[in-house]
C-alpha cells in the first residue's frame, strides 16, 4: 500500500489536525483558558480555510483504488463549505460562551469539525462504503448537537425525531445499497455505472435507486423525505439549525449529484432524471405551501430551505458542467443568505429569546441594522436583484434549460411560478420588520455581540458581492 496517497487527502488531513488541536486544547487547557476556545477554533479554522484556497498542482487525483477522488470541483465545494462553516463558527461564539453552554463549548466545536469531516468524505467518495461512513459521520454527531440545549424540551424532541428518522433512513438507504450491490456486484460508482448500462435489471434496480435517493434525499430534505426537517430545525439550537440548513445540505447536494450522475447516470436512459423531476416539483411546491403558514422563524426557514433544496436540485437535473457549477454557486449564495437570516434570528434569540414572526414587528425601528440584514437575506433567498440570490437562481434555471427537453421548460416554469409563492412569504418577514411598525415592538433595542456582527457583515458582503462579481461564477464554471 502506498501511504503517500494519504497526501492526496490534504483537506481531510488538515481538518483532522484542526480537530486534534482543538481537542487537545479543550482537554488540556485550564478552565480559564477554555473561555477563548471558540475564538481559537475560529482562528484555526480560518487559517485552514485560507490554506484551502491555495491552488495546488495535480489536483485531479484518486486514492485507495479510486474509492476517494479529489478534483478542482471537489476542492471548490469543500472550500465553499469551509467558508460557511467558518461563518457558523463565528456566529456561535457568543452562544457557546454563554453561561449555560460554557462547559460544553469544546464538544460543540469538535462535533462540528467531525461532521464536516464526514461531509468531506461524502463529497470525495467514489465508493459507497466510504460514502456511508461519511454520511453517518456527518449525521450522527448532528443528533447530539440537536440535543445540545439540555434544558429545553424542544431540543430533545427534535433530537429524538432526528435520530429516529435518520436511523430509519440509513436503514432504508443501506437496504437499497445492498440491492445495488447484489445487482451490480460492486460498490464503486464507476463500476456500478458500467454494470447498470442497458436494461437487464428489471424493476429491482429502480427500487434500489429509489431507496438510495431516499437515503440522500433525507439529508437534503427532499419531499417526501423531509418531514423531520421542520421539527428538528425548530427544536435545535439556532446555530445547529443554521449548520444543518446550509452546510449539511450543501454537502449532501453535491454528493447527490456525484452519485446520480456517476453511479446511476447510465441507468435506463437516465431514469433518475424523471425521479428527480417529480421530487423537485414536490419539494419546491410542498416546501412553499408549508412555509406560507409558518409563524416561527426557524420553522419558516426550515420550509424555505426545503424549497431551496428543490431549486438546488435543478442543477443536478441539468446533468452538465453548467449545472454542476450553478449548483455550487447556488450553494455558496445560499450559505451566505441563509446564514445571514440565521445570524439575525440567533442574535435576537440570544438577546431576547424571541423567535416568532410577530416578534419581528417593528424591528426596523429598534434594530435597523439587523432588520436590514434580514431583509437582504430574504431578498437574496427570494432571488431579487441585485443580490446574489438572483444570480444563483437565474443561473440554475439557465443551466437546467440547457438540458434542452420540453419537459425541462415545464419544470422550470413550475419552479418559477413557485418563486412567486416564496416571494410572498419572504416578503411577510420584510413586512413584519418594516411595515407592521404601528404597535409596540416586541424586540427592544440591543447591541449584538462582535462575533455576531462580524458574521453578519461577512454574510451581507457576500450577498452583495458574490452576485455582482462575476469571476466567482466564472471560476466555478471553468472547473465544473
Amino acid at each position: 500500500m502506498d501511504y503517500s496517497q494519504f497526501l492526496i487527502m490534504k483537506q481531510e488531513i488538515g481538518l483532522l489536525i484542526v480537530f486534534l488541536l482543538v481537542f487537545l486544547y479543550d482537554t488540556f487547557a485550564s478552565k480559564k483558558a477554555t473561555g477563548v476556545l471558540p475564538a481559537v477554533t475560529c482562528c484555526l479554522f480560518a487559517i485552514f480555510t485560507a490554506l484551502g484556497f491555495i491552488p495546488c498542482m495535480g489536483i485531479e487525483n484518486d486514492a485507495f483504488e479510486g474509492m476517494y477522488q479529489t478534483s478542482a470541483t471537489v476542492t471548490a465545494i469543500k472550500n465553499i463549505l469551509n467558508v460557511g462553516m467558518l461563518i457558523v463558527m463565528i456566529q456561535s461564539i457568543k452562544w457557546a460562551n454563554s453561561e449555560f453552554q460554557a462547559i460544553r463549548r469544546g464538544e460543540f466545536y469538535e462535533l462540528l469539525l467531525v461532521t464536516l469531516f464526514g461531509m468531506y468524505l461524502m463529497i470525495s467518495s467514489r465508493h459507497f462504503l466510504l460514502f456511508v461512513i461519511g454520511l453517518e459521520t456527518a449525521s450522527l454527531p448532528l443528533a447530539a448537537m440537536v440535543a445540545f440545549n439540555k434544558n429545553r424540551y424542544e431540543s430533545h424532541e427534535a433530537a429524538v425525531k432526528y435520530i429516529l428518522t435518520a436511523c430509519f433512513s440509513s436503514a432504508i438507504f443501506l437496504f437499497g445499497l445492498s440491492l445495488v450491490y447484489g445487482l451490480a456486484g460492486s460498490l464503486y460508482y464507476r463500476e456500478i455505472a458500467m454494470m447498470v448500462t442497458g436494461s437487464g435489471f428489471g424493476a429491482m434496480i429502480i427500487v434500489a435507486l429509489a431507496f438510495v435517493i431516499g437515503g440522500v434525499g433525507f439529508k437534503l430534505s427532499l419531499v417526501p423525505f423531509h418531514l423531520w426537517t421542520a421539527d428538528v430545525y425548530q427544536g435545535a439550537p439556532t446555530n445547529v439549525t443554521s449548520y444543518l440548513s446550509v452546510i449539511s445540505k450543501g454537502a449532501a447536494a453535491f454528493a447527490f449529484l456525484v452519485i446520480l450522475t456517476q453511479a446511476f447516470g447510465t441507468l435506463y436512459s437516465k431514469a433518475w432524471e424523471w425521479m428527480l423531476y417529480g421530487l423537485i416539483i414536490l419539494t419546491i411546491t410542498v416546501g412553499n405551501l408549508f412555509a406560507i403558514r409558518q409563524r416561527n422563524m426557524k420553522r419558516f426557514l426550515a420550509f424555505s430551505s426545503i424549497s431551496q433544496a428543490g431549486y438546488i436540485m435543478l442543477g443536478v437535473i441539468a446533468d452538465n458542467a453548467m449545472g454542476t457549477s450553478a449548483l455550487m454557486y447556488y450553494i455558496l449564495v445560499y450559505i451566505f443568505s441563509n446564514l445571514a437570516a440565521f445570524g439575525v434570528i440567533g442574535a435576537i434569540e440570544n438577546n431576547c429569546d424571541k423567535g416568532d414572526m410577530t416578534d419581528y414587528n417593528g424591528l426596523s425601528k429598534t434594530n435597523p441594522r439587523l432588520a436590514f440584514t434580514m431583509m437582504l437575506a430574504m431578498f437574496s433567498l427570494a432571488g431579487i436583484p441585485p443580490f446574489a440570490g438572483f444570480f444563483s437562481k437565474f443561473f440554475i434555471f439557465t443551466s437546467a434549460i440547457n438540458q434542452g427537453s420540453t419537459a425541462i421548460y415545464v419544470l422550470v416554469l413550475i419552479a418559477l411560478i413557485n418563486t412567486i409563492i416564496s416571494l410572498y412569504y419572504y416578503l411577510l418577514v420584510v413586512k413584519a420588520m418594516y411595515i407592521n411598525t404601528d404597535g409596540e415592538c416586541p424586540v427592544g433595542t440591543f447591541k449584538s455581540a462582535c462575533s455576531e456582527r462580524l458574521a453578519m457583515w461577512i454574510c451581507v458582503a457576500g450577498i452583495i458581492i458574490i452576485g455582482l462579481a462575476s469571476p466567482i461564477y466564472d471560476y466555478l464554471l471553468t472547473i465544473g
Binding site: A144, V160, L174, S186
Partner: protein
C-alpha cells in the same frame, strides 16, 4: 440462484418486520430494536450477495462489518437521546413526542 433466495427471503421478511415494528411500536426502545432488525437484514443481504454472487471479492463482507459498527453507534446515540427525553418528559412513548407539528 436457487439457494440464495432462501437467504434473501428471510432477510426481506426481517426487514419488513423491522419496518413494521418501527412504525407501530410506541416505546422508543422497541423502535430501536426494530431498527436493529432492519439493519441486520441489510447485513444479511450484503453477506449473502457477496458469498453467492460475487465470491471472488470481500466488498460485501467489509461493508457488513462497517454497517454493524455504524448500527452500534446509532443505537448508542439514540439511547442517550432517549434517556435525555425520559429525564425531561418521564416518558418514552414516541406518540407523546409531538409538541412541534404542522
Amino acid at each position: 440462484m436457487g439457494t440464495i433466495i432462501w437467504y434473501l427471503i428471510p432477510a426481506l421478511v426481517m426487514f419488513c418486520c423491522g419496518v413494521y415494528g418501527f412504525m407501530t411500536r410506541r416505546n422508543m426502545i422497541a423502535m430501536l430494536i426494530s431498527l436493529e432488525l432492519m439493519l441486520n437484514a441489510v447485513d444479511i443481504n450484503f453477506v449473502v450477495f457477496n458469498r453467492y454472487l460475487y465470491p471472488g471479492q470481500l466488498d460485501g463482507m467489509m461493508f457488513t462489518l462497517f454497517a454493524i459498527a455504524i448500527a452500534a453507534a446509532e443505537t448508542a446515540l439514540a439511547i442517550a437521546i432517549i434517556i435525555n427525553i425520559y429525564r425531561s418528559a418521564k416518558n418514552i412513548d414516541v406518540r407523546d413526542v409531538t409538541r412541534m407539528k404542522f
